[in-house]
């Protein structure tokens, strides 16, 4: 991990892999969306609406995964003061928040025809909404202080505390009787979904991972360049100040 602690080395590496990553993401979306929209059968019960699943489920996975990464990055920033960890957490949380919102919206659109309502206050939905608020709180804390480092530290503590919510989300469908269906992929006893729907789902899941990685690296690159710009501007001010003093 500490090999990449140098922002310059990270930027060089990011510049090298980013074009490939973006190309792979686009390719993945072409394949995944084709499989999901045309290459897979409609469900015997749900009909065509089952295709919402190919966006909803991977987005929800990504929302959880991204929060886990925000939490881990925050922990390594507090424990080891890893210089890129703060940048990673700051870059990750809007992406995770976007995935959470996508999962909530697609879930709500899927819920209307299937459950007859856009929203119910069952445990899975409530804990997922809580996840969304945690992301927003994390972002709000990051920007709430005049001293950026202070915001990063506060947000890191919040992110770690919020990790408690992850197992609650994952097991909410097992612990409580929810309207939301229980897990059918990541569960004891193996996958319980037909292979004709399994492959489009996996294709979309892989693509979502690629997209998240590309988006996070892009945001990290932007944040690092912004920091560099800020430092150069400060250095320029300092230079002008010294010259002005010297000429007096």
């Amino acid at each position: 991990m500490h090999r990449f602690a140098n922002p310059g080395r990270f930027l060089r590496l990011a510049n090298r892999i980013q074009p490939w990553l973006k190309a792979l993401t686009v390719l993945g979306f072409i394949i995944g969306l084709y499989l999901a929209l045309w290459g897979s059968p409609p469900d015997y019960q749900q009909g065509e609406t089952v295709r919402i699943m190919y966006v909803h489920v991977p987005a929800a996975w990504m929302a959880l995964f991204a929060y886990l990464l925000v939490g881990l990055a925050s922990a390594s920033s507090l424990i080891w003061r890893h210089p890129l960890a703060d940048v990673a957490a700051e870059a990750m949380s809007p992406v995770g928040a976007a995935f959470t919102l996508i999962a909530l919206i697609t879930g709500s659109l899927w819920g209307k025809p299937m459950w007859g309502t856009y929203w119910v206050w069952d445990a899975r939905l409530t804990s997922f909404l809580l996840l969304f608020f945690l992301y927003l709180g994390h972002m709000a804390l990051l920007g709430a202080f005049d001293d950026r480092a202070r915001g990063q530290r506060s947000a890191a503590v919040l992110a770690i505390v919020g990790l408690v919510n992850l197992p609650v989300i994952k097991f909410s469908v097992d612990w409580w009787n929810t309207l939301h269906q229980p897990a059918s992929i990541v569960r004891m006893g193996g996958i319980s979904i037909d292979s004709s729907m399994q492959w489009p789902l996996f294709a979309m899941a892989i693509t979502f991972h690629l997209f998240m990685l590309a988006a996070v690296i892009e945001r990290m690159r932007t944040l690092l360049l912004e920091a560099r710009l800020r430092n150069q501007r400060l250095a320029a001010f300092e230079r002008v100040g010294t010259q002005a003093r010297a000429s007096e």
């Binding site: 507090l78 409530t126 909404l129 809580l130 608020f133 945690l134 927003l136 709180g137 709000a140 804390l141 709430a144 202080f145 005049d146 480092a149 202070r150 915001g151 530290r153 506060s154 503590v157 919040l158 770690i160 505390v161 609650v168």
Partner: protein, 221 residues
């Protein structure tokens, strides 16, 4: 332990000297709760059904009121730096602050809860379980609130941000508290929900002072 007690006494003394603060919390609690009969209509059966929920929700909102002042005064006049240098660990300083908050808001709210229950036509059998649930709910509210106060100390518009951060985290507490109340109303045993509440309190008691101290250390750095 002596230092802990001294800090608690100092904070309580400061709070009580401006006695209006604790009173304002209680008045807010009653006034906000009294809005509901006007918004929903004063039908006794409807009020009886929702009274416990309103009492608990208003307790959660009222406990937010004094949170943004939990550390601000000490932060601004430099006492917080003094406390950090004292033999008392920052975790215990945080815990003392939370305890003060509970004594200054949780306890008065407990006393005022039956009054609001009366105004909202709460069924006579509902009082003991509501108060018991509040005894377990209010410490959790103070602990989470203290965490929010430590995280947002020195932030721009800290009070607003604090409410936004903490209110979603109140959801599980309210679920468990109202679970106990609902169980008794339906004639079931409330033991399960109460045990979970105690577990939540103890878990927060173990986790929150540490998190608050971590946050405070970043302020003092």
């Amino acid at each position: 332990m002596r230092a802990f007690r001294a800090l608690l006494k100092r904070d309580l003394g400061l709070g009580l000297r401006q006695g209006i603060d604790a009173l304002v919390v209680v008045l807010f609690f009653l006034a906000a709760g009294a809005l509901f009969p006007f918004a929903l209509g004063p039908e006794p059966a409807l009020l009886a059904r929702i009274a416990a929920g309103i009492v608990m929700t208003m307790a959660a909102l009222a406990s937010l009121l004094s949170l943004d002042r939990l550390f601000t005064a000490d932060y601004e006049d430099g006492s917080l730096d003094g406390l950090a240098l004292s033999p008392l660990s920052l975790e215990l300083v945080a815990l003392a602050k939370v305890a003060t908050h509970w004594l200054m808001t949780g306890l008065p709210l407990l006393a005022a809860a039956p009054v609001l229950g009366l105004l909202l036509n709460l069924a006579p059998g509902g009082y003991p379980i509501l108060l018991l649930a509040l005894v377990l709910v209010t410490p959790a509210l103070s602990l989470l609130g203290g965490l929010g106060a430590a995280l947002t100390l020195g932030a721009r518009r800290g009070g607003l941000l604090l409410a936004f951060l903490i209110l979603p985290l109140f959801i599980p507490i309210l679920i468990l508290g109202m679970g106990a109340v609902a169980a008794v109303a339906e004639g079931r045993s409330a033991l399960g929900a109460l045990e979970l509440l105690v577990a939540l309190d103890l878990g927060l008691l173990a986790l929150v002072p540490w998190a608050m101290a971590t946050a405070l250390r970043q302020v003092l750095r």
